[in-house]
């Protein structure tokens, strides 16, 4: 038995926390009070700023929880008692009966039979459900549930109705299920109970509830959702018509002392997202009424700009009243930037309602013996900056339970809480997955094809029924079927069942991206007894229906091509076996700031040998230059001392005054060479390399008077306990932030306000020039309130301008147009404080290059996923924490450090890691030992002697397939991407009307991801491309390109990462070389070399991808049919 951890709440924070714990070897009990996990994220349509489909990225995590051998999921359950017994908590859990057993196949017949019609809570009452129902298609657990309070059989009634029982095929309805009390002994508890939304009827002036077209943001989110009550159509609930004008009102119940003083943090961004979606639905008049736009996170300001560019009108002001007026809603407010009253009529009004503590949180807190803060959220202990520590030892909190938080911040805290809890878990286990390969891969291929509707994402464009029929006709296909949500737990179970029943030995799923969903289906295959490498996906969503929404016929045809390609490849798939590689169970944390210290100490306390390398001679990073940390007012020195003690007492091997000069190796086995000559062998690396303070030298010219310093200088003055010699102080915000690609630096507003308060309390006149006040984080809005209360004056300058453009300093006064007054004012100033943000640390460039990390637009380290992978890099075994990822405050940096530690812990917890079986196989009968492959391998994984020998070093091989492309004699097989497989895909793609198509080869990491992203953003382009994915563009051999032309392709494109982004150490320079070479061959044979295109495209460059596809389509149209026929003949294709 391993030590258990209790997680309360199954929203995204609880889900992520459970997974992090379970992956690191802890046993988890996850308790959720509703019938399914998923929480609020499952309700949302899309996430900001990436416009990811919310449930699409959450569903795989939900089903992972459902399947994880270390997680016990208890839904319909609540904690009723907690007692401490030595080191353990004894927890009593009350679980309500579901009345439906796990045998439920989700056929839905019971729902049709049930006579009780009720409002669907999930759709906020805008749609109906029955007394027996499933909350969402992706529910986990998948079994339906009976709402007994509304069922005709509600006790003491004795089965007056048995309609559902009658129709249930698997006989899984059981009205005799009893509630259970489950006792658990756990080492640590994590509260992740999330938030509830504010009741908008509390503001009578907004008339919510008096007119059906006044919606809350959550209700509107359901309207946007393709599986929501209106099928994704934006309609007026009053009459079903499309609205022509919509107003979004922010801060409804937030930033308002009559309701909630605090800022609800995420409303600005989701409202902008909703507005962008609204515009994309073709509604032209979209207004947002805001007080400050709090676009504080990575990419948020860019998204804000995009919304403006797309035509969303942002009006600074606060609605005074919403008055229903027949069909319309009359809204009265002051347009502050114009200084006048506006009274406008809208078709719909959406209220961005505050997030507030769930009503039963106080009861739970009492049961757990933890305190709440004054707003009713769970109180955290700001000492050590830990937002995840509650007032009771051993109990932690993550996500919105301790105050509103967006998904990314919740996920980060989930990891942090997991890391903290793991310190209590001594015994770890990994139950072996019961897996036996029972279905033989040999013999005739028996292919099963499943086509996912993905709600209406696919089925709304392509004719999935027809596709299923057509796929059934492909030779080798023995089963073909369309499914509503193929990735949902119940459907994967269904797929598993079909595989078993029909002895399917190759699985093809036509759905979304294999980058996100392949594991879901390989798991299903494995459970069915099939080798996981016998699964192939056709990405008919991201690469097809999402990007050709206006062309249902063409999109359907393309989908069929893609299915044919997948089937063709599937036929040739061979079973492969994961390679086990040893893990060096040591961690290296680079950078000794708060994030690095937190990460290192946590890892050391979890029992891992941990190195912390800091280039300075003392730990602390930027913290050493700070005086008091906003908003809680903790002394930086106290925090530093505390954390230093923690680092040293936990046994971290601290190496000061040394830099990591170079790093080599890969996940599980890295070698770091330090500047002091030390060589560290580690399995995981955490990049806590920090950021640099922006240096605003010379941006302001003064002609005498007005001493200019930075906020960091002022911090130093405070630290020295001195009093700046000035009577009138002016702060200038956003210096070095919020322009061009530079986003908001997050922490600066609260720092500036803290400093302003301090100076005001010293008796000075203090003026703050700002763009938007972004006090989004916990207790920061209260700091802003305090500053106003004591007389600090806030002046808004033009947010579109750089400070040095908007502000003039002259003769001891600062001149600026106050956007609130609408006039230029002059402010006496003896001291001007430039509030500086953070810029990326360029000292780590060599490391970034050696580790193949990527940077984002602003130059900070790029995370795996902005929402769900905030602390993972794109490179296995390398994690990112603190300001290396993006500017953030001390509390956030610590949380991220801990979260990175949890990820590293999961990697280091075992002796081995599984390595993908992509290592090439040499056919020694064919090999001529020419060593060309060894020469091009960028990892030195192939070694040998000319004409004598050749061997593959598995540990070094990264599986790019570069060697296979280089081999002249076809002696190297690249598993998963063999010559035969790729050629089969090419042939299948070009079976029909090849002259209208382009074969587009992509690498897995950048160009395919960029194509995926174009899909996510719904960037439309013509449907002429047929994509073939390999791991690296360096896998694309001359053979493939010529084959495509031979089969009549109009155009061939080879795409991949920009060379500096290559995930295989510049392997793609070989791609470039090969493409040049092939062009020469084409030219020599009289074929227009322009028809072969080399294109670099990063994962983020979705627009670039769409533009290229458009360009290729135009090129195709220009090529005469005769030319293509001629090419085919020249290459000998016509004869065969």
């Amino acid at each position: 038995m391993s030590d258990e951890v209790l997680v309360i709440g199954g929203g995204i924070a609880g889900i992520q926390c459970s997974l992090d714990l379970a992956n690191a070897g802890a046993k988890v009990v996850l308790v959720e009070k509703s019938p399914t996990i998923g929480g609020k994220m499952a309700i949302l349509d899309k996430n900001f700023p990436t416009l990811d489909c919310s449930i699409c990225i959450e569903a795989p995590k939900m089903s992972e929880v459902g399947k994880h051998p270390n997680i016990e999921l208890l839904t319909l359950a609540e904690i009723i008692n907690v007692e401490k017994d030595g080191e353990d908590f004894i927890v009593e859990i009350y679980q309500k009966p579901r009345y439906v057993t796990n045998e439920c196949s989700r056929c839905g017949l019971c729902v049709d039979a049930c006579p009780v019609l009720l409002k669907n809570e999930f759709d906020y009452g805008m749609a109906a459900r029955k007394a027996i129902y499933t909350p969402i298609p992706q529910s986990e657990p998948g079994a339906y549930v009976i709402d007994i309070d509304n069922c005709l059989n509600k006790p003491p009634n004795y089965l007056p109705c048995d309609r559902c029982i009658q129709v249930c095929g698997p006989k899984c309805i059981d009205f005799f299920m009893k509630p259970k009390i489950i006792k658990k002994k756990v080492k640590a508890i994590i509260v992740a109970t999330g938030f509830e939304v504010f009741d908008a009827t509390r503001i009578p002036d907004y008339s919510y509830g008096l007119h059906p077209d006044i919606l809350t943001s959550m209700e509107y989110e359901r309207l946007l959702q393709s599986t929501g009550p209106s099928g994704g159509e934006i309609i007026k609930p009053s009459n079903g018509h499309h609205p022509e004008s919509i107003l979004f009102i922010l801060c409804v119940g937030s930033r308002d002392p009559r309701y909630h003083k605090y800022c609800s943090r995420f409303c600005c961004m989701y409202t902008i997202k909703q507005a962008v979606q609204t515009i994309e639905h073709g509604i032209k008049n979209v207004d947002i009424l805001y007080m400050d736009i709090r676009a504080y996170g990575k990419g948020f300001d860019g998204f804000y700009k995009r919304a403006k560019d797309e035509g969303v009108r942002f009006i600074k002001g606060r609605a005074a009243r919403v008055i229903p007026n027949g069909d319309k809603l009359r809204v009265r407010y002051e347009n502050i930037m114009e200084g006048r009253l506006e009274e406008k009529e809208y078709d719909m009004v959406v209220l961005a309602v505050a997030a507030e503590p769930p009503p039963d949180l106080a009861k739970l807190a009492a049961t757990l013996g933890i305190e709440l803060d004054e707003d009713g959220f769970i109180k955290t202990r700001p000492w050590r900056g830990k937002m995840i520590a509650t007032t009771r030892e051993g109990i932690f909190v993550c996500g919105s339970s301790s105050g509103p938080k967006d998904i990314a911040d919740s996920v980060t805290e989930a990891g942090a809480a997991a890391s903290a809890a793991l310190e209590y878990v001594k015994k770890k286990t990994w139950p072996k997955l019961e897996f036996e390969e029972t279905i033989p891969a040999e013999g005739e291929p028996r292919i099963g094809v499943f086509i996912c509707h993905c709600g209406s994402n696919i089925a709304g464009v392509a004719d999935v029924k027809w596709l299923a029929q057509e796929a059934a006709k492909i030779p080798g296909v023995v089963h073909s079927e369309d499914l509503r949500f193929a990735c949902a737990g119940v459907y994967t179970k269904y797929i598993e069942q079909v595989i078993k029943e029909k002895k399917i030995n190759r699985l093809v799923v036509a759905a979304c991206s294999p980058r996100t969903h392949l594991p879901v289906f390989t798991d299903a295959a494995v459970r069915a007894g099939l080798n996981p490498y016998l699964v192939e996906m056709a990405n008919i969503r991201n690469l097809d229906t999402w990007v050709h929404a206006g062309y249902p016929k063409e999109a359907t045809e393309k989908a069929l091509d893609m299915i044919k390609m997948a089937v063709a490849k599937a036929k040739l798939l061979k079973p492969l076996y994961v390679v086990k590689l040893p893990v060096t169970r040591r961690a290296l944390v680079i950078g000794g700031g708060v994030a690095g210290m937190a990460a290192a100490a946590s890892l050391a306390r979890q029992g891992f040998e941990t190195y912390l390398v800091e280039k300075e001679n003392r730990l602390g990073g930027l913290l050493r230059f700070l005086d008091v940390i906003a908003p809680e007012g903790i002394r930086a020195e106290d925090l530093l001392n505390e954390m230093e003690t923690e680092v040293y007492s936990s046994g971290v091997k601290v190496i000061l005054g040394a830099k990591v000069e170079s790093v080599s190796g890969y996940i599980g086995n890295f070698i770091a060479n330090l500047s002091n000559g030390e060589k560290l062998e580690v399995g995981a690396i955490i990049m806590a390399t920090g950021a640099k303070v922006y240096q605003p030298e010379g941006i302001f010219q003064t002609n005498g008077g007005g001493n200019i310093i930075t906020s960091l200088d002022l911090e130093q003055i405070f630290k020295n306990n001195s009093n700046p010699n000035a009577k009138n102080v002016v702060f200038v915000s956003c210096v070095g932030s919020r322009y061009d690609s530079k986003g908001c630096s997050r922490f600066c507003c609260q720092v500036m306000i803290k400093q302003a308060i301090r100076l005001k309390e010293m008796g000075k006149n203090v003026f703050v020039l700002y763009k938007d006040i972004r006090t989004y984080s916990r207790k920061a809005e209260e700091l802003y309130e305090k500053a106003r209360a004591i007389g600090v004056r806030f002046i808004k300058y033009n947010p579109e301008m750089k400070p040095e453009e908007a502000i003039r300093i002259e003769n001891g006064a600062v001149y600026v147009k106050d956007e609130l007054l609408g006039e230029e004012i002059g402010i006496p100033a003896d001291l001007i404080v430039l509030n500086v943000g953070l810029t990326p640390n360029d000292e780590i460039n060599p490391l970034i290059e050696q580790l193949k990390l990527s940077r984002d637009e602003a130059g900070f380290l790029l995370e795996l996923h902005p929402k769900l992978g905030p602390v993972e890099s794109l490179v296995g075994g390398v994690f990112i924490a603190g300001t290396s990822q993006n500017p953030k405050d001390v509390r956030e940096a610590i949380s991220q450090g801990l979260a990175a530690a949890a990820k590293a812990a999961a990697l280091l917890a075992k002796d081995t890691i599984d390595k993908e079986p992509l290592i090439p196989r040499i056919n020694y009968d064919k090999c001529t030992y020419c060593q060309r492959c060894a020469q091009v391998c960028t990892f030195s994984a192939l070694r040998g002697e000319l004409r004598k020998s050749l061997e593959v070093i598995s540990a070094l091989c990264q599986g790019c397939g570069n060697c296979a492309a280089e081999c002249m004699v076809g002696a190297i097989e690249a598993p998963g991407f063999t010559d035969e497989q790729v050629i089969a895909q090419i042939d299948a793609a070009l079976e029909d009307r090849p002259n209208e198509k382009a074969i587009v080869f992509t690498c897995n990491w950048c160009s395919y991801a960029g194509a995926d992203q174009a899909g996510i953003e719904k960037l439309q382009y013509p449907p002429s491309s047929r994509v073939i994915r390999t791991m690296c563009s360096a896998r694309i051999s001359q053979k493939f390109v010529l084959r495509a032309f031979e089969k009549g392709a109009a155009v061939v494109a080879v795409t991949g990462c920009w060379p500096q982004d290559c995930h295989y150490n510049y392997a793609n320079l070989n791609t470039e070389r090969r493409v040049k070479q092939i062009k020469k061959i084409l030219e020599a044979r009289g074929i227009n070399p322009e028809r072969l295109i080399l294109h670099w495209n990063s994962a983020a460059e979705s627009k670039r991808w769409a533009a290229k596809m458009k360009e290729i389509d135009e090129l195709i149209k220009k090529i005469p049919k005769e030319e293509i026929i001629e090419t085919v003949q020249k290459l000998g294709g016509g004869k065969k």
């Binding site: 930033r255 606060r318 502050i336 200084g339």
Partner: protein, 383 residues
Amino acid sequence: MKAKLVDIELMERLAELTSAAADYCYQCGTCTGSCPFNLLNPSTLNPRKIVRSAQLGLMYEDPSLWYCSTCGLCEAKCPWSIKIPDVVRGYRQIASEKRKTPSKFEEILWMIYEDGTAFPGSSTERAAWTEGLNIKDASKQKVQVLLYAGCAVSFDKRLQKIARSLSSVLSIAGVDFGILGREERCCGDVVYNIGEDAFLEELTTENIKRFNKSGAEAIITISPHSAHMFKKIYPKYGLQIPAFHYIEFLNELIENGKLKMDKPVDGEVTIHDPCYLGRYLKIYEEPRKILSTIPGLKIVEMNDVKENAVCCGSGGGRHFLEIHGERLSHYRVMQAAETGASIVVAPCPFCIQNFEDSVKTKRLSLNVKDVVELVNQSLGGVV
């Protein structure tokens, strides 16, 4: 355009005059969006900018400073409950110090100084409304309750009926009351709202002397403006006698069984909440309670009642200034008429005067009454 310079001295002076009312403001503009004057005369009055100017220590010399009727709806709607009317008064006080008060107000101040009234009339005619009523003269004999009639009621024929009704009701209840008659002077509401503080001090001190001399144990007023002055402002200048609006007093008499309304008053009545009775003194339920005890009378509520009530347009000295643009009272009587009621009740002389005008202008068949008039009718009292 020349930049306005932040004047720290002015900033501090305004903070002092307004108890730093502007500090908490985060400039959301709810006030501007709620201002009824602004609603009817768009973008003429911007309370937010007045507060903004106070925050920055800038002079506010826009004529709209004098449009504000200090109705307090902005304050009621402000998330921070900022006393925006106090900021307006602060600026008016500074204007008066700089001799920048509109000339009409200068005239009014002189009238009050010389005649003790802001209305045309002389103190000798102050008690004219009592003709034939035989009311005690509190300047000459001791009374338990001092009835303060106020300037508008004393000199306006229509409003005099309210005073007569109240006298009748008080007599029926057996209350020992009297008036100051010729000795009664302006309560100073307009002086207070113009921001002429030096004169206000002189006026209140003199009035308090007279009140004290009467030996009264309580003061009741007909105007909510006077009630507000005596309850909230005069104590700062030393008034110790408790003051009430007559509605409060009547309500107590009814609760104590001193008044039995038994004659039916048939019809539907709608109730307007005067700003100074409602938002300033928080008296919302009492008029409803009183009217609900009158047999035959049915209360129908109009839009925007109690805290949301729309001003008649006369507070804050506005009564004496020429009205620019659309009248608030027109808007308000239309709201009253929409209910279908035959009577609109407005327990404030200013409101009644305005409503009478507006009902005529808008050709509505509405009777404008004060609460006490209906009470007296139900009691069978004579006027």
